[in-house]
Every structure is written in C-alpha cells, then in structure tokens.
Amino acid sequence: MLNKTGIPTAEDVKKVSPSEDRLKKGPVAIIECFQEIPCNPCTEACKQGAIQPMEDINNLPKLDFDKCNGCGVCLSRCPGLAIFIVDASYSDTEAVVRIPYEYLPVPQVSDKVVGLGRAGEELGVFEVIKVQSGGQKNKTYTLWLVVPNDLAMDLRSIRLGGVRHAN
C-alpha cells in the first residue's frame, strides 16, 4: 500500500501508464501522482494542452497521452518530483527514462550509474546520455538514462552518494 510504504503499487502505476502503442510512438510523461493534494503547477507547465486544467486544485492531474510530446517541462516543474518521461522509441531494445534529480554530485553525460526502482531496489547499471539543468531558479536537474525496454516503467531513481562505475 502506497500510504503505508511510499511505494506505488503495480495497480497505481497501471492507472497512469499509457498503452504499449503510445509508449512505442515516442516520449511521453508518466505522472505518478496518486493523492489529491492542493497542487497544480503541472497544468500550467504544459504548453501542449495535454495536462488538462483542474476544476478543483485538489484534483489528480489528467494527462492526454496523445497530446503529450514528452517535452519534459512538467517534469522539472512538479513540486512532488512525481513526473517521469519515458521514450520507448529510442531503439529496438532500449528506452530512455528521464528522471528529476536534486542530489549532489550531479552525474555527467556518459557516466554509468546504478538505477533504482520505486522501492529503491537496484535494477542494474545504466548510462547517462543527457543532463539538463533546471536553471538558476528551478534547480531541478533532469537525467536521461538508457535502460532495457522492460525496465522503462520501473527505473525511477539512481543510487545516491555519487556515481558507482561498473566493474
């Protein structure tokens, strides 16, 4: 149960996941926001009209996967760090997962880092292919990680305390 452990369940994740077809078409946001709290910056961040305005600020965000182009603006704006971008069109076998990151040191492009799932479990060692700064004010980094296709919906964090290189 999410509210006992902090770990979203498979059913929780399923509710906010696009179809396999949509995933294959290219980058798309996965909004892992499962609790009604007064918060709406994602709706203002989205310039694609994909995250619909909320009637009540406590509503859960509603994302139209077909309008979402995976630009990632919502990812860097979400105060809950709950939005990820998955691009399953990266190659036949690999996907790119973009995650928000607010720890030090910030990994560099081509670093190999230990990827973690929603429970903090190790999923393997993956390459960072891009690092985007959120800028002076926002400060949240976006890390782009290349992962095998089957981990695209699982990898959500990396091990802290710096970069652990593959042996």
């Binding site: 509210n3 006992k4 609790q35 009604e36 709290i37 929603r118």
Partner: protein, 367 residues
C-alpha cells in the same frame, strides 16, 4: 526613538503569515510595524529548500526560501512598513500597550490593531534517553543545515512521517547524510505521498506502525531501539530492531504558539484537529479581543501556503477596520477566503476544515 512607539498595525512574527499580513495592510495604506524575534525575517520559509505545492497565487513551484525572499522584498519596498528583527514581544496589556525586548531595551508600542502571527513550536515525545546529545527537533536540524551549513551527524533515525519528517529526511539526504529509516507510529504516512515516494525510491525505508522505545549511548546517541506497534498502538513483543545511528530527529508535530493570545485574554479552545489550544476567531480572523487578529499556525497548524493567505486576510481586515481600502477590501477578503477554501477542499484539508467548524462551534471554551 520616542518612549512609546506608535503604529497603526502591529504584527507579531515575521514568518509567512506575518509578512503577508504586513504587505497586505501596508498596501492599503496602513502604517505597519512587524516585530520578529529572529535576526532575519522569513520564519521557517528561509529553511525550506523544496518546491512548494498550491497554485500560482501561493507561489507554487517556487522553493520556500525563494518565497521568503520575495515576501521580505515586498515588505522592504513598502514605505508604510517597518520590520524590527531581534525583537521579542513580551506582553499585550489591557490598555492596548504592547511591550517587547529588543535593541537591548524594554520597548513599548501602542498599536491600534494587532495581528499575532507567532507560528508554532515543535512537540517532544517521551522515551528513555531522549535528552542525549544527538536527539534533535526537525526544526533544529533544518536550522543547522540550511542556515548554518552544518550537518547534524552521519546516520539519522527520523521519527515521524508527516510532511516535516519527510522533507527534513530529504534535505538530510541532499546534504549527504544517510537516513537509517523514517518511522511513524500511525498506520499510514501523514505527509504528502509524493514526498514519501521520492525518499523511498532513493532507498530509505518508511516504517509505519513503528515507534522508538529508547535511544542509547554514552556521550551521545550511538543507536536507537525501534519496535512495531499493533492495531491498538501497543508494542509487538520481539519486533525490536537496533539501529546504529548518531542522530535521532523528532518530527512529531507542532503546537500553536499561543502564549500571547492567552495572555491577551483571547477566548481559547482546545481543538485537536488544529493541533492544540487556539484562539476563537471570526471568519476574518479577529479574536474575541476586539482589534486582535491571528494568522498562520498560531490559529491552527497547517501549511505555509494557507498561512500566507491567512496573513493576507488578517492584514486586509485589520487595515479595513481602520478605514483603509474600504472600497476594495471586501473583494480582497472574498478572494482570500476563496483561496483558503480551495486549498482546504481536498482530502488533505478535511482535518483543518473539521477543526475550524469545531472552533467556531459554541462551547468548550477554556478561558
């Protein structure tokens, strides 16, 4: 300085509620004096490095300290407004005189209206050795780290999975400190689940239905024993775990800082949903002592977003009662009330709403 300082509106406390009240009142034309006990205004905002929730109107998406800077700037640019730091209010007297200690002097102020925005203080819990060096309140950990740049230790046990426990754990991790676990006596996580999830996926266990049974160590904390609680909150025998930690951080809730309200003879009521004794007040935040308003955590512990809106509402109401902005005040008040209802409309705000209904209900007044 004259023997007695005159001002139209005196605001006690320069946190999110106090500063918002100050600029709202000064913008309508009232002369405002803010007294802040600390050396710098901003209250708890200056230690908040995470992005705030809410909507644009409450600066959502900005980090707490950035919001603090913004509020301080708004006050600094207002010619009707003065902020005195390192000044502690001591008493509010029957004849309307307010006394304070500051600048090495005993100060007297005669305001026409008063807004008490003193915030809240941290609760403590009882367990053996809770006086060992290395046992901290979460606020102290934040002050050490985010004001003075000092980490409290190497490995921390966090007690409490409300928003403060979750956020301070995250800040500790950002500072390179390991969190052994976050434990919470209640069966569910009290804080926002997005905060919990981001900590959990970084590898930190969040153990609900768990409590601390003791801390141990010679010179300071060397470890802590935690155990599971059953459905009736009783320790489960044999469930003890020994965690090697050098810091135990307590984030077990806040109590409204209401001493001045008691002393000023405001009617008080114990409202558990608002976290303790709070002054009975009108919709516009005026207490039963005419001309004395409250805003922020002192009127019930909540989020900084609502504290800022309450501050604005109290500031407008106090200024309006002095004849300032009478034409636009009703509209501004209605806007603030609408924002508060919006913030409290969801499941997370239900407790506060119940508390306010309970508070407004006649009866149960303690003094």
């Amino acid at each position: 300085m004259p023997k007695v300082k005159e001002t139209e509106i005196l605001i006690v406390g320069g946190g999110p509620a106090g500063l918002s009240a100050a600029s709202a009142a000064a913008n309508l034309g009232a002369s405002v004096l803010v007294l802040e006990r600390d050396g710098k205004p901003g209250g708890q905002l200056i230690k908040q490095t995470h992005k705030f929730f809410g909507s644009k109107k409450q600066y959502a998406g900005d980090r707490g300290y950035q919001i603090g800077d913004l509020l301080i700037e708004q006050c600094r640019n207002n010619p009707n407004l003065e902020v005195w730091t390192d000044t502690t209010v001591l008493g509010i007297y029957e004849d309307g005189v307010v006394t304070a200690e500051g600048q090495g002097k005993h100060l007297k102020i005669t305001p026409k209206k008063i807004i008490v925005a003193t915030g809240a203080s941290e609760k403590m819990i009882a367990f053996p050795n809770n006086d060992l060096p290395g046992i901290y309140g979460a606020g102290a950990v934040q002050t050490l780290m985010n004001v003075h740049g000092i980490v409290p230790g190497k490995r921390v046990l966090m007690i409490g999975a409300g928003n403060i426990g979750l956020i301070v754990s995250y800040q500790l991790m950002q500072a390179g400190v390991e969190i052994a676990a976050i434990i919470e006596a209640a069966p569910t996580i009290g804080g926002y689940l997005v905060h919990a999830s981001k900590i959990r996926r970084a590898g930190v266990p969040i153990l609900t239905s768990h409590t601390i049974t003791e801390a141990y160590g010679d010179e300071g904390v060397e470890g802590a024993i935690i155990c599971k609680l059953d459905e009736s909150w009783q320790p489960v025998l044999g469930s003890e775990q020994d965690l090697k930690v050098d810091v135990v951080c307590l984030a077990v809730g806040l109590s409204p800082l209401t001493e001045l309200c008691f002393q000023a003879d405001c009617q008080m009521k114990y409202v558990p949903e608002l976290s303790g004794h709070v002054p009975v007040r009108s919709e516009y935040l005026e207490t039963t002592r005419p001309g004395l308003y409250v805003a922020g955590d002192v009127s019930g512990v909540e989020e900084a977003s609502s504290a800022m809106v309450e501050g604005r509402l109290a500031g407008i109401s106090a200024a309006c009662s002095l004849g300032y902005g009478e034409d636009i005040a009703p509209k501004l008040q209605a806007e603030a009330l609408a924002e508060l209802s919006e913030l409290r409309a969801g499941p997370a705000g239900q407790k506060t709403l119940r508390g306010i209904i309970n508070l407004m209900d006649k009866g149960g007044v303690v003094c």
